[in-house]
């Protein structure tokens, strides 16, 4: 659905993104993660044909963004970082105005306005000026605006920023439900929990692409797997014993808790467990922990900084 090849964009002497490439399939939710200034907004602007790349190529639904800007804007919906609404006209009129630039029949437009305003609990206040809306309400209105023409591709820049937990949950459920409608979602977010719960794949970027993978691939990567052991007594008593086992990359203890980083847990875990039991250790529990996206992300960003 989206193919990005060797994309580079500079602003004067500053490189915003450098030689990035990725593909996104139809109805895939593609999480795009990176620290501030990593090039996320620049990428989303290039995907939505708002700005052009200096070099490289973007193809959306088989069309080059450079030569088919209007077509691409017709089939994409963009949620910008800042909701941006006309404050002195009503929420309903804001949606009516923006949607009038898309090629959709009037009755469908009106139905969609009603559908999304109701979905995001804004229908009761549809005639209120957008300027009187709270930040969260504006964000929901902006999301409605991005969806109003039923785009095939949704480009979302921080969709749950400024939303209360209930609304954020509702928006996440909604994004998840878009898969059924075969909508492709490009999700820029700082919220790693959101990215891990929604994305089929995540791309970690810091000007260049650091990694593209599914969450499972990232968790099964070469960073070692972690095992947490909680003892009835002090964990320090057993560190020497554990260290004797091969494949242990690291061990940290805190009171009765030991955290191990193990290269090959399938082999090492039974050995460690047997040694501990044989030595008379009283184990409350022994648990293999999968690294969270946040931990993986922070590790990757840290590694990148160290280069």
């Amino acid at each position: 659905m989206i193919t990005v090849e060797n994309l580079t964009r500079k602003f004067k002497d500053i490189t915003a993104v450098e030689n990035i490439s990725f593909d996104i399939d139809e109805s895939e939710i593609f999480g795009f993660l990176g620290p501030n200034g990593a090039g996320k907004t620049t990428t989303i602007r290039m995907l939505s044909t708002l700005i052009s790349p200096d070099s490289g190529k973007i193809t959306i639904n088989g069309k080059d963004t450079r030569s088919h800007g209007e077509y691409i804007r017709e089939i994409t919906g963009l949620l910008t970082e800042s909701p941006g609404m006309y404050e002195k006209i009503s929420a309903y009129d804001n949606l009516k105005y923006y949607s009038s630039f898309y090629n959709i029949p009037d009755d469908r437009r009106n139905k969609n306005i009603e559908k999304y305003l109701k979905m995001f609990d804004l229908w009761e206040r549809k005639d209120d000026l957008a300027g009187t809306y709270s930040k969260g309400m504006k964000q929901k209105l902006a999301l409605s605006r991005a969806l109003i023409h039923e785009p095939k591709i949704l480009l979302l820049d921080e969709p749950t920023a400024g939303l209360d937990p209930e609304s954020a949950h509702m928006v996440r459920n909604f994004i998840d439900s878009l898969k059924k409608e075969k909508t492709t979602v490009f999700l820029c977010t700082h919220n790693l929990e959101e990215a891990s719960s929604l994305s089929d794949r995540v791309c970690i970027i810091k000007k260049k692409i650091i990694r593209i993978a599914t969450l499972l691939e990232l968790q099964n990567g070469d960073r070692g797997k972690r095992v947490e052991i909680v003892f009835r007594d002090d964990a320090d008593k057993y560190t020497k014993l554990i260290k004797e086992t091969s494949h242990i990359k690291n061990i940290q203890t805190d009171k009765n808790k030991a955290m191990l980083v193990i290269e090959n847990p399938e082999i090492s875990n039974p050995i460690i467990l047997k040694k501990l039991v044989d030595s008379g250790a009283k184990i409350i529990y022994f648990n293999q922990i999968k690294a969270s996206l946040e931990e993986i992300y922070l590790d990757l960003i840290r590694d990148e900084k160290g280069k």
Binding site: I51, T80, S82, G84, I89, Y97, A146
Partner: protein, 263 residues
């Protein structure tokens, strides 16, 4: 064109609600199209009792039989310049307000993400400034003619307007001037985040108009059809240049990366 009309319709609704735009227009109309012409023409007789005024008339027009008629003709030359106030002022109030409000509300990016072309956006914004300017200027022209004709009829028993000079100013010079000021306001607004400073364009461009009034009052220069046509032609030559610059500035990429935006 349809998209430009959609922008125009929405903008006009907002302008009608914005008293910072229509209040100055109303005040200027009351002062320059009603109060001043009435005062000048109805109060012209006592002016003629002043020896300096007679000397001035003799200096500029030579020996005349009907000094009052000549004086009113001279006043009409000054009032003619008032016709240019609206074409200079209205677009410089509307165009910056329309563009800078978009910046303040961060509405440009989502707008540019629709299939709208930037040329349609520029056209829509320009029409928002140009059409009200033309309507207001024409209304102003009609009011001024009615006021002048009634007061001149009371004073001299004849109605001097409209004449060729006034028609040239109202329907040739004014639209050209308002087009240039609209484009200049668009250009300045792209680099500004403050409505008031961007609205200063009109004030700057209005200065030569004051200069013309000053030169006429000093007896050094009198507007006539030839000068007006030359002036119109000169301004017409400027039009393609300001249009080209405005089109260049109104590029999607320029708007998002080079325009000065609110922090």
């Amino acid at each position: 064109m349809k998209n430009a009309c959609l922008i125009f319709k929405k903008e006009i609704k907002e302008i009608i609600k914005n008293k910072n735009i229509w209040l100055p227009i109303l005040i200027i109309t009351l002062i320059f199209s009603i109060s001043l012409p009435l005062g000048f023409i109805l109060g012209s007789s006592p002016i003629l009792e002043d020896e300096d005024t007679l000397n001035f008339i003799n200096k500029v027009f030579g020996q005349v039989d009907e000094p009052l008629r000549v004086l009113i003709g001279f006043i009409l030359k000054q009032l003619l310049i008032f016709l240019l106030f609206m074409p200079a002022m209205v677009p410089s109030l509307i165009a910056p307000a329309s563009i800078i409000m978009e910046k303040e509300n961060n509405t440009l990016e989502p707008l540019l993400a629709t299939p709208l072309k930037t040329s349609e956006l520029l056209l829509g914004k320009s029409l928002t400034a140009l059409i009200p300017t033309f309507v207001i200027s024409t209304i102003n022209f009609i009011i001024l003619i009615i006021v002048v004709d009634i007061s001149a009829y009371i004073k001299l028993g004849y109605m001097p307007l409209p004449n060729a000079e006034w028609v040239i100013v109202a329907f040739l010079l004014s639209p050209i001037l308002s087009f240039i000021i609209t484009m200049a306001s668009v250009i300045v607004s792209s680099k500004s985040t403050d409505i008031r400073s961007a609205q200063g364009v009109g004030a700057v461009i209005i200065l030569p108009i004051y200069l013309i009034i000053g030169l006429q009052l000093a007896g050094l220069f009198l507007l006539n059809i030839t000068y007006l046509l030359i002036g119109s032609l000169a301004l017409l030559i400027v039009c393609p240049f300001v249009l080209r610059l405005a089109v260049k500035i109104f590029d999607r990429e320029n708007i998002l990366t080079r325009w000065k935006m609110k922090a």
